[in-house]
Symmetry: C2
Subunit: 347 residues, 2 copies
Amino acid sequence: MRGKRTGQGRASRAAPETTGGRPTLEDVARRAGVSTATVSRVINTPKKVAEDTVSRVQEAIAQTGYVPNLLAGGLASNRSRFVAALVPSIASSIFNDTMEAMSRALSNEGYLVMLGLLDEGPGHTAILDAVIGRRPDGLILTSIEDDEATRGKLKRSGSPIIETWALPANPIDLVVGFSHRDVGKELARHVRALGYKRPLLLSAGMRRASERTEAFARAWVRLGGAEPARLIVESPMRYGPARTSLGAFLDGGGKADIVVCSSDWLADASVVEAKARGMAVPKDIAVFGFGDMHMSSEGALPLSTVRIDGAAIGHTAAAMLLDRAAGRTVKDPIVDIGFEIIDRQSS
Amino acid sequence: MRGKRTGQGRASRAAPETTGGRPTLEDVARRAGVSTATVSRVINTPKKVAEDTVSRVQEAIAQTGYVPNLLAGGLASNRSRFVAALVPSIASSIFNDTMEAMSRALSNEGYLVMLGLLDEGPGHTAILDAVIGRRPDGLILTSIEDDEATRGKLKRSGSPIIETWALPANPIDLVVGFSHRDVGKELARHVRALGYKRPLLLSAGMRRASERTEAFARAWVRLGGAEPARLIVESPMRYGPARTSLGAFLDGGGKADIVVCSSDWLADASVVEAKARGMAVPKDIAVFGFGDMHMSSEGALPLSTVRIDGAAIGHTAAAMLLDRAAGRTVKDPIVDIGFEIIDRQSS
DNA sequence: GCATCCTATGCAAGCGCTTGCACAAAGCGA
DNA sequence: TCGCTTTGTGCAAGCGCTTGCATAGGATGC
């Protein structure tokens, strides 16, 4: 691999291409009759180069089919032009809208998104190093990193860090999110105002879902309600477990006039289970979701839910990173994107 | 940035760290009393280094908090240790299972996945260059690249290319997919065998969906059926447009005893619309989907559909890339992952 | 007409690694 | 005991870019 370049200066060969056939800056420079510095400038800062030189170089680029090696460029310039996104999952995840929006916003500027799948909990050294070692120009977190070792590593990485989908108590760096606690609290108030008496909290076991659930319960009690019943489901996106769980509760004589779910999947599953038991929704039992997925508003029974603007989170995060990359200071480093409680037909 | 290193040799300073604080190989080497080459070997090929040297170096790594710069490493070694995935979308896409499976399989080996969002159609030069310029060790395509310019660029990129979710007529390189045509054909046969007479093809406008639809229609006619009616929906994942479209067809006096859809989303929307009109599924009208999403089997009405093992595609692709990266030859460069027609309660 | 200032370009020193090669030391068989 | 392998390490030449600095011509001012 390396050897091919041995004796590099070895007189000008007919085919100037070096390095295993892929043309380099030097090949382009030679062809255009300029220095590599000039070619680099044509690519990165064309206004600093005379017009006819630019066009001559561009022609050479076209002829050689040159594609800049961004690894080399990143190493030299200390800007990698990509951001890494650490997500717990990507298969039908609630963060996907955010990822997609961010990805699109960034790609306009030549930035790409690198994916790092990180389960909740500590001990991701390998993946973290793989990410940090690439010196991303930004790091988006969607899971909450409690682990001090992890947080330290991230901090020391030198990349701008954006925590999203939450408002951490003491942020590492930048934040775009909302308060899960507020969601829980507001939802309690809302459900109460709607006149329901016995909420059942059906929730995935994950950190943030729990935070909402807990806040709901506390607020509910404070509003004079009885401590609500709770159900934890392991697979937050499968219908089966949710239905089984709810079914068992009902079979066991559990009473509830509304099921407050930690996701629209869970909510939809609840509706299905309720109907399967001949219960009318919302008459016999109401259902509230979280997330406002596409299908929620347009399905058989439009779901009452809490809407989070995931795409806006993505846009905002992208803008922040771009600011940082350009050396601008981020005017508002902590953004609360808020949420919206939507009443539809399931409550 | 650069300047900091001027006068580099400037006697050994108390704080040996160079480069804006982030420790480098050299810092570790100095601390461990070895050469940078040795540190590099400890990291990449520890068996080639004496045991006590290894532990001494590892200690130095731990003390300095050194994280290897993979940009530099990639440049030097000509292996970037990441693969790029070109996908049309990531928000609730059918490819997400594949992405996730692949991502997980690869991350065990220190590989990361870089995302490139590529809409169907030609003209992605910018994104393509951003991807290729990073010299990925592999390139996963999920959209079909017809455009000759694009194909050429990909071929010349030097990275292994895997086309997935289809079996292209003349592959660029590696393939893990299945035949959309066969799906259409088999489905026609199957639906016919089930006794249906008037299929309505409800399909997204995308390339692959069309391929299945066309194959279905041809096969259907060949089996003696009448040319089936077709409906094209623009947003393949929204319920609204699908319902509207189907509704209009029915309102306009269109007749059909089964709706064959190009996705489970469309199928579910069809079920919802049919029920909303008081039609019984499958008695008055049956529905067939495609994709077998989680919810399809566990929802209110378990959907008949075509199952594709997206995760298997991801695994297989990852294995292929790892083989290529290790210099092994891929024993089977074209893998047909097949599909499975599943009868559930909507037909 | 000469000093002064731009503007366009080139030079060359890196960026932080990897790795072929050279070499010293240690192990080994006869 | 002596040549001959192995190991284990270091040297140093890159990988393909970016960019501070120097320089060479114009253009400009007086």
